[in-house]
Symmetry: C2
Subunit: 278 residues, 2 copies
Amino acid sequence: MEQVSSNRSHGGTQGVYTHQSRTTRTAMTFSVFVPGHAEGAKLPVLWYLSGLTCTHANVTEKGEYRAACAKAGVIFIAPDTSPRGDAVPDDEGYDFGMGAGFYVDATESPWAANFRMRSYVEDELPALIGAQFPMADMTRQGITGHSMGGHGALTVALRNPGRFRSVSAFSPIVSPINCPWGEKALGGYLGKDRAAWRPYDACALIEDGARLPSLLVDQGDADNFLHEQLKTGLLVMACRKAGIAATIRMQPGYDHSYFFISTFMAEHVAWHAERLTA
Amino acid sequence: MEQVSSNRSHGGTQGVYTHQSRTTRTAMTFSVFVPGHAEGAKLPVLWYLSGLTCTHANVTEKGEYRAACAKAGVIFIAPDTSPRGDAVPDDEGYDFGMGAGFYVDATESPWAANFRMRSYVEDELPALIGAQFPMADMTRQGITGHSMGGHGALTVALRNPGRFRSVSAFSPIVSPINCPWGEKALGGYLGKDRAAWRPYDACALIEDGARLPSLLVDQGDADNFLHEQLKTGLLVMACRKAGIAATIRMQPGYDHSYFFISTFMAEHVAWHAERLTA
């Protein structure tokens, strides 16, 4: 692991790092904010998975999480959204290929060689963080994300029961099986057999018996993607049917941008911190 | 004035606007955050002048001011740092020409036709804001800025006694007469006669009798530009000699970036609000 940059911020350290990933077979970049802390202290970890077209940089610059994480003593980690590089296959659309890994392990050619973001965020990166950041308490993890990354947060948490004490999302794609973004991505990465898509669909995972300890979701009602792509209502129904305690809030006037995310970020961080430090 | 974008954020509205400036003879873009407020309410205004290479967008995306402005009920305005466009003269350096207007009215050719950022931020833009934003109380204004924009905030306030109730800065260039950035810019825009530079030098203005009601400055001690360009110590001495009540804080470990600015932004907004709402 190499440090790309390190900046003191809000009493802690905002770092950006790169490493050669054996999972994606590319260099991968991510950011970590470590709040100021006493020597030897162990701090809980909050993962943030980003949306389509983003790298680690979008939330790192525009997410407004550092003040809240510093106050709560929570480490904040932002991975990239896909492998990148000249040797990595890509698609002309913004919603498939680079910048659009969808947190799946691709099985279709030519994507299968590099597009393994499920394994990367579930296995390789947590192991790296545990090894390289001795103050990170990997027994206390929370996860959140935005849009495609909200889908990522929900599905990673649903597939790994017991790993996360807290799960939240900002304007998540709640059922990629049922929207154009998801059909393109899951069809492209996983092939035509829709049965193979279900482990990558939050609503389907819940239907199939997976559970979350609790859930906080914020969704802007002026979000252009709400009705065609995000379909928050499907998650409301799935949680109700499964008896999952969920706070799913429609926020009047808010759109899909970081102006929305940053508005509710401090509340999400505090909500995670409450569960991670209890 | 045309609206470029409008996003709901932190309970208010983050807008970006463009207008044809008669001062710079170009289109000019700026951002305005208006907190949520009761109909008919009048809110104080905080100006933020940006640093070298920046547009309105840097602080708008990375400044983390909206939560604090929403809480305090303060409008936040971020102008651009220079005229821009194909017809505008430019320089190869990042520190002169476009993105580097230095908040002066140029007198030298070819700059004098467009590079009139002093008149733009002192006269034209405040008049436009007063006319277009009925909730802006132009009798209650504060001003701040970063680096070249800290220089701008200090010198605009010093030249306009009584206009600003509160003045602060993040890592300002405190004496452009005495640093390479300033010598290049003031020499280029104003010519070789250094007497013409003094109205654009905070320390010289104070020496020449100009005063501020009070002043808050934050400066990172790990800022690469501190010793050669910013020279905070000169401002400390000038304020002491002139009896200006100034809080000038060296912040250990912080650099020149928005990771630094955003750390102390909420404190600056609260400090201005205290003086603007008294």
